[in-house]
């Protein structure tokens, strides 16, 4: 049962990264691929109906971790207290930027919100990447299962560690490049004309950067956390996901070049999703790795909720999860096709 909930948590987080990832990427690119108000309204129209639902995956994934592994949730987010609030404030700023912008036509108002939409769209992927870096490197969990981390120490990735060090920043940059490329693929798919062309070029360049960074990050991970590569070698399922990610990357590249926009986005989804799943398959069953004494690590087995609670939750989850998928299928179908700027007052 804990294994099932580990898988559920991973799937929910992966869905979050793939879905909110494309609107983060769209936000990070919009200042450059959309130059005037009409073009920027196209971008907002492309993500407008989805961004809020995409973000719900974060809350739903948090809920799944809470119900499945209350010890992990309580230790994890109180330990990253400071960083969590930076993330929350970014999410708030980003949400109101998207929602408030369209209400007033004044150009200064709109450009201001464009800027406040862009900043958190760049920062959030870096933060989430750095968070993943922290999970891979490990945190100073004590015997009672708590920890607290400074925002940074000496950037060495050795004890005493901070949230930001050379390794976690590297993962953060990699995540930002990957999700921005992903957003570029999404915009290529959903827009047309000059915005599509700029997005396509940006996506190609960013995927190029991703190709360079990916091996670098993998090598860095194996230096910081030697177990990572050895478990990668012994777990075929991780290989399958990693191969899926690589295949997605190739597909995204080829399709962006040949103008098959939808398969480019699907390839990008496979890349981001495959990477997330492969990483989770490598670190399983560890959820919060303790730096120093490995016996303090929180694993799926030693930190799961009680079995009765897990099986109850599985029952309502297997009913609610397909519903959530259904909403997204309906939403994507209702908003299929390329997006044009909505008339004023009738859209973002």
């Amino acid at each position: 049962m804990p294994e099932i909930w580990y898988a559920i948590a991973v799937v929910m987080l992966t869905a979050y990264v793939v879905l909110d990832g494309f609107d983060f990427g769209a936000g990070a690119l919009h200042l450059f691929v959309a130059r005037d108000d009409r073009e920027r309204r196209v971008i907002l129209g492309a993500i407008g109906p989805f961004w809020d639902g995409n973000e719900v995956w974060l809350l739903a994934a948090g809920g799944a971790i809470f119900v499945g592994f209350p010890r992990v949730l309580s230790a994890g987010i109180s330990g990253f207290y400071f960083a969590i609030f930076l993330v929350i404030w970014c999410l708030i700023l980003r949400g109101i930027s998207i929602e408030f912008r369209s209400h007033v036509g004044n150009p200064v108002w709109r450009r201001t919100w464009d800027f406040f939409f862009w900043v958190p769209s760049v920062l959030l992927p870096v933060f989430f990447g750095a968070a993943l870096g922290n999970l891979l490197r490990g945190v100073p969990l004590d015997r009672d299962g708590w920890f607290s981390l400074a925002l940074f120490t000496d950037f060495s990735a050795r004890e005493p560690v901070g949230i930001l060090d050379w390794y976690t920043i590297l993962v953060g940059i990699f995540a930002a490049a990957a999700l921005t490329a992903h957003g570029g693929a999404y915009l290529t798919w959903k827009t047309e004309g000059v915005v599509r062309e700029r997005s396509r070029r940006a996506a190609l360049r960013l995927f190029g950067a991703v190709v360079l960074l990916w091996p670098l990050v993998t090598v860095a991970t194996s230096r910081v956390q030697p177990e990572f590569l050895s478990s990668l070698a012994s777990r075929p399922v991780a290989w399958i996901f990693a191969a899926g990610a690589a295949g997605g990357l190739v597909l995204a590249f080829a399709s962006l070049r040949s103008g098959r926009d939808r398969s480019a986005f699907l390839g990008s989804c496979a890349f981001v999703g495959g990477l997330s799943l492969a990483t989770a398959a490598c670190v399983f069953p560890v959820m919060l790795r303790a730096i120093g004494d490995p016996s303090h690590s929180m694993t799926a087995a030693n930190s799961a909720a009680d079995p009765a609670g897990l099986s109850t939750a599985l029952r309502w989850f297997s009913f609610g999860f397909p519903l959530a998928i259904l909403y997204f299928v309906v939403l994507f179908r209702l908003h299929r096709g390329k997006v044009a700027a909505a008339p004023e007052g009738e859209g973002y």
């Binding site: 973000e55 369209s102 009680d306 989850f317």
Partner: protein, 455 residues
């Protein structure tokens, strides 16, 4: 209580009170919009559709702020209340996770269809989007109320060998009698808020002699719904809630009423100031026997005072609890009176001519917000010193690794950010009110003309 716990409490209180200003309106308004869209389906219901279109715009702004200010609420269970999450997570994790899966997805999927989809969807389709928002937001309300109800009156749990709570009976937990009562009381209160807001704007337009037709439609729905809901909030839902408090949290009831001594024929204190040091209520004005009746049904029933309980189990801020409860109950009574009078005048066809009454209706809209806030303060302060009633004390619930200074920093950060959001929110809502109903394009012709900048 050390500084850190105090600051964690203050941050949670501040962020939840601020957050709840918005769902408090949107949950009630989603019901009214649903009714308007249903009336709009009939032949000749176009004026209801026009009214709905305006209120959907107000709803959209409120909902957006509700969504973004709701994000920290989810996180703070873990960031600030780590030991609570670890102790009660097996149980309350269920409803918190269900809220995301069953309610938030539903709301987020249909929000943009409701706000921007009227042209894209058919009449029925748009009505369906309104129904989905109504269902989603009221479902969300249930899950979070059930979570709170467990903290007020734990049911369906067992204390495990590992010292933390386990889920023993899911149905008993989900259908906690406290949750059902609190949900009924709270959701009727959201309808009161929305009715007063809709009515206030109708009164404002009538006083201004602008958008008069829309104003009449607003009053047409706001007045009767406002009257019914403000009565229901007091009786039976509020009464039922009070009886639950009397039975399960007698010490909270004693503190709410400033009742320091036990006894029969307990009077209801209408006015008075609790003097905790002297253990008495200063300058009390009481209605004899009424508290006994409200709590247990008969005037000679014994109602325990604070003297019946060890001071360690007293709510830790008796004064604030007392005032919050009295503000809630007092405002609730006044709101019923206002709605009674306004409905009476409207029924006699004299409301529009009675401008002072319109002015009262226009100015009354903050009071439901205050009453709701005071009501939640009553619930949460009355629960103290427990975070899970009778099981876990608030002082034992905070995150052990977060220092007071860090909590103060994030609290101040929220104060700043939310001040900014308040200014923007009021600006945008005032703009919509200024444009009025019938103004289809909120910011017509965007960047093309300088004339659009006016508010």
């Amino acid at each position: 209580m050390d500084d850190a716990v105090f600051l964690h409490r203050l941050q949670f209180a501040f962020t939840i009170i601020y957050h709840y200003l918005f769902p408090n309106l949107t949950m009630g308004l989603s019901f009214l919009i649903f009714v308007m869209k249903a009336l709009g389906l009939r032949r000749g219901g176009e004026r209801w559709n026009d009214a709905a279109r305006f209120w959907i715009r107000i709803f959209g702004i409120n909902f957006a702020v509700g969504v973004v200010t709701g994000i920290p609420m989810e996180f703070q269970f873990g960031t600030n209340w780590g030991r609570f999450s670890r102790y009660a997570g097996n149980v309350v994790g269920q409803t918190l996770a269900m809220e995301g899966l069953f309610a938030f997805f539903l709301e987020s999927a249909f929000l943009s269809l409701l706000v921007f989809g009227e042209k894209r969807l058919s009449r029925i389709g748009h009505f369906f989007a309104a129904a989905a928002l109504f269902a989603g937001s009221w479902l969300s309300g249930y899950f979070i109320t059930a979570t709170n109800a467990f903290m007020q009156h734990p049911t369906g749990h067992a204390v495990g060998a590992d010292g933390v709570l386990h889920l023993a009976d899911f149905r008993a937990f989900l259908f906690n009698p406290w949750a059902v009562a609190q949900y009924a009381h709270n959701m009727t209160a959201t309808v009161v808020t929305a009715s007063f807001v809709v009515t206030a704007l109708g009164a404002f337009y009538l006083l201004e002699r602008k958008h008069v037709d829309s104003a009449r439609v607003f009053l047409r729905i706001g007045l009767p719904v406002g009257l019914i809901s403000s009565v229901l909030v007091a009786f039976p839902t509020g009464d039922h809630q009070a009886k639950l408090v009397a039975r399960h949290q007698p010490v909270a009831l004693a503190a709410m009423e400033g009742r320091f001594e036990s006894g029969r024929h307990a009077g209801l204190n209408v006015i008075g100031q609790p003097n905790v040091r002297e253990r008495r209520l200063d300058n009390p004005v009481a209605i004899p026997g009424l508290l006994s009746v409200l709590a247990f049904g008969r005037t000679h029933d014994e109602v325990q005072g604070l003297d019946a309980f060890p001071p360690a189990d007293w709510p830790d801020n008796i004064e604030l609890l007392y005032y919050a409860f009295h503000i809630m109950a007092g405002l609730g009574t006044i709101l019923i009176g206002v709605m009674l009078l306004a409905n009476l005048l409207a029924w006699r066809g004299r409301l529009e001519g009675t401008r002072p009454m319109l002015a009262v209706l226009m100015l009354c809209f903050p009071f439901p917000y205050i009453a709701v806030t005071a009501g939640w303060m009553t619930a949460e302060l009355g629960r103290q010193p427990w975070v899970v009633y009778g099981l876990l004390r608030t002082v034992d619930a905070s995150s052990p690794t977060v220092h007071a200074g860090t909590a103060l920093f994030t609290l101040l950060g929220f104060c700043g950010l939310y001040s900014l959001i308040s200014v923007l929110f009021l600006f945008l809502v005032a703009r919509e009110i200024g444009h009025g109903p019938g103004h289809r394009a909120a910011a017509a012709s965007a960047v093309s003309g300088p004339e659009v900048g006016h508010a």
